[in-house]
């Protein structure tokens, strides 16, 4: 910022002054970089520490803690990783988290964009009231309804289909301790509808009207005109929803006490209470963190844009 403060009339200034100005600029820039690198260190030291420690034996981790070696891969062993797999069904937790996050995202995109299309483009009685209600719902934080939601899902029946020895149907009395209890309640989302609604309003109406002339049904217009045009919003929604679902902790703590449908986040909290082996705990942490970080690095522009767009709702 400060380097823009150079006066505009530099033509009459003596050369030494210009040189001094330039040196000052270089020093300032160096200071700014130093500050930025310092912040980099502050921001990622826990993550770097986790990743490098996960490939060290506990003995080396504790030794290295006394010096800068804590942040360097001074040893390479996969012992901790094997340890995690031996101690807990990590694969199951990983599969659970993946299914929960991806299924919610996919359903969420279609269900909410369809509703937004209906609200933004189709004329039916009551749609203004419905939209007002949806905006009002934005303010209800999940934490305020988590406990009563538990009551609701506990009363909902579910048809279990199993394939051992022919197809078998089984009616279960409650949604607790399942994958779908972590998916279905989170598909419809007022904020997602709101984002899609805004995006659809930005599309000129002539686009759908020309399709109408060709006799297209509303579903057809939604599918072949609207959906392709709101792709950026779809990406935003996918990223935001995926992060929230993948990192969710409160809901599985109350709704999924058993191990069968447990996600990774609750898994690490209980793993931490089960073992004193910090090497293994950090290996577990690394295994949850690495995939998300990779996805984040690949799509980082989208991530940053998504979060920024979540901020303009005011």
């Amino acid at each position: 910022m400060a380097n823009e403060a150079v006066p505009y009339s530099t033509t009459h200034v003596r050369p030494e002054a210009v040189r001094r100005e330039r040196t000052l600029k270089t020093v300032l820039r160096a200071l700014i970089y130093a500050l930025m690198i310092l912040i980099v260190f502050w921001t990622i030291f826990p993550i770097v520490f986790t990743l490098v420690s996960s490939i060290k034996t506990s003995r080396v981790i504790f030794e290295d803690l006394r010096s800068f070696n804590a942040f360097l891969p001074t040893e390479f062993t996969l012992e901790n990783y094997y340890g995690v797999f031996e101690r807990v069904p990590f694969q199951r937790f990983l599969v659970n988290s993946t299914i929960i996050a991806t299924t919610t995202v996919i359903f969420s995109i279609f269900v909410n964009s369809m509703a937004a299309f209906s609200l933004a483009r189709l004329r039916w009685r009551g749609r203004k009231i419905v939209m007002t209600i949806i905006i009002a719902l934005l303010i209800i934080p999940f934490e305020a309804i988590a406990i009563p939601l538990l009551v609701v899902v506990n009363e909902l029946p579910w048809l279990q289909i199993s394939f051992d020895g022919g197809i078998q149907f089984q009616l279960s009395q409650s949604w607790l301790n399942s994958l779908h209890v972590q998916i279905i309640p989170f598909i419809a989302d007022s904020f997602t509808i709101f984002l899609f609604y805004q995006a659809i309003l930005d599309i000129p109406k002539e686009f759908d009207e020309s399709a109408l002339v060709d006799g297209a049904t509303p579903l057809r217009i939604y599918w072949s005109i609207i959906l392709p045009l709101i792709r950026p919003t779809i990406a935003t929604v996918a990223i935001l929803q995926f992060l929230v679902r993948w990192n969710d902790y409160l809901w599985p703590v109350v709704a999924v006490p058993g191990e069968q449908a447990r996600p990774l986040t609750v898994g690490i909290a209980s793993f931490y209470t089960q073992t004193p082996e910090w090497g293994q705990i950090l290996a577990y942490a690394a295994m949850i963190t690495i995939p998300v970080l990779i996805v984040f690095l690949l799509f980082q522009k989208w991530f940053v844009q998504s979060v920024a767009s979540s901020g303009v709702k005011g």
């Binding site: 910022m1 823009e4 403060a5 505009y8 500050l35 980099v40 502050w42 921001t43 826990p46 803690l65 269900v111 369809m114 509703a115 209906s118 189709l122 004329r123 039916w124 749609r127 419905v130 209600i133 949806i134 719902l137 303010i139 209800i140 934080p141 934490e143 305020a144 309804i145 406990i147 009563p148 939601l149 009551v151 989170f186 598909i187 419809a188 009207e209 109408l212 002339v213 006799g215 509303p218 939604y222 902790y249 409160l250 703590v253 109350v254 986040t265 609750v266 690490i268 931490y272 705990i281 942490a285 949850i288 963190t289 998300v292 970080l293 940053v304 979060v307 920024a308 901020g311 005011g314």
Partner: protein, 366 residues
């Protein structure tokens, strides 16, 4: 098919049918999983319903709210030594007061009240008693958390946004790095930070000792009631700043370049441009950041549940949401947990209404 036909009465009906059908899955979901639980929460808050109960719930009116929110002040006079007429002092020379617990227990006016905390002021002791001191402490913890996190985190985020908004090479790498804790799971980071906060070997104490040349004594971060909340605050600021940074960055990029140029021509220096162009330009962004951070502060749960379970003692790090889960789920007092949920919602609503008001008032002056 002609346009006049498709926009006719028939098409109107088609539109209505499609409108409801296409919206139905979302509307049904919102009703079942948000509106219904919300209404149930309000309904349950007037009952003594338990999570798993053989006996039916009873309607108990406002008793849950009374229990949750009741506060009273007890004024205690110092104990007087009968023989000398002076106040009694303990071994350390402190003035002695009657025991508040025995008064709370014996006086029918204070039935159901428990000691929360006390202050000695002008020769008297004021005992603040509540029917649910845990809730009161949780509320205070949330407020303290918000009062520290909101200004600290917002300033750090603004600073980071200003840094990564410069047109210098490599800035994108910094932007990405600063943002990375945001995408990492809070539950995972909480566990990692437990290790970092370890009093004997944790990196935080090691680092503090290194930069102070051994002057800073090891702190029992999560094990001491005085530092546990601070520890959670530091971790939350560390993780959350990148989020606000991105929002500030969007705000900065929304300020017209010409404003800066005009200010430069008028001879404004870097600080003056920041003060008179950047800050006013960020007004709405700042309101948004402050309000969302405040709401986040009141939603605090994961860190507390993983790192301290509300402790180490005396509910030092309990929060409103943690109390909701403790009461409504773990203690199975569903009706009471629902009451705390409703109160929590009212708090969040109040904060959001403040935002509405502030944003609206700018709309009028601009």
């Amino acid at each position: 098919m002609s346009a006049t036909h498709t926009t006719g009465v028939n098409y109107r009906r088609v539109e209505a049918v499609y409108g409801w059908l296409m919206g139905a899955p979302a509307f049904l979901g919102l009703f079942t999983f948000i509106i219904l639980p919300f209404l149930i929460a309000i309904g349950l808050s007037f009952t003594n319903q338990r999570l798993i109960a053989p006996e039916p719930a009873e309607f108990i009116g406002l008793r849950n709210y009374d229990h949750l929110l009741s506060l009273t002040v007890l004024t205690l006079e110092p104990l007087i030594d009968e023989s000398t007429g002076e106040s009694l002092r303990d071994a350390d020379g402190n003035i002695e007061y009657p025991r508040s617990r025995s008064i709370l227990r014996n006086d029918p006016r204070y039935e159901g009240f428990f000691d929360w905390f006390s202050v000695d002021l002008f020769g008297k002791r004021y005992v603040i008693a509540a029917k649910d001191p845990t809730f009161m402490q949780s509320l205070v913890n949330n407020i303290v958390f918000a009062l520290i996190v909101v200004p600290v985190q917002s300033s750090i985020a603004l600073g980071m946004a200003l840094l990564v908004n410069q047109k210098i090479s490599g800035v994108n790498i910094f932007r990405t790095t600063y943002f990375s804790p945001v995408v990492t799971s809070t539950a995972v980071l909480s566990v990692v930070w437990i290790f970092l906060y370890n009093p004997d070997i944790g990196l935080i104490n090691q680092g503090l000792s290194a930069v102070s040349f051994g002057l800073i004594e090891p702190i029992n971060w999560l094990g001491d009631t005085r530092s546990a909340l601070v520890a959670i605050i530091i971790m939350a600021v560390w993780q959350g700043a990148g989020f606000q940074m991105v929002i500030f960055l969007a705000g900065l990029q929304g300020i017209a370049e010409t404003l800066y140029e005009a200010a430069s021509i008028d001879g404004a220096n870097a600080y003056q441009r920041f003060r008179h162009v950047t800050l006013p330009g960020l007004r709405n962004t700042t309101i948004f950041v402050v309000i969302t951070t405040t709401i986040f502060a009141f939603r605090l749960f994961t860190q507390v549940d993983v790192m301290t379970q509300g402790g180490p003692q005396d509910n030092a790090t309990s929060t409103v949401v943690y109390h909701v889960v403790q009461e409504g789920f773990r203690a199975k007092r569903l009706g009471y947990g629902a009451t705390a949920s409703v109160v929590f919602f009212v708090i969040v609503l109040a904060i959001a209404l403040v935002q509405r008001f502030l944003l609206r008032s700018t709309g009028e002056t601009d």
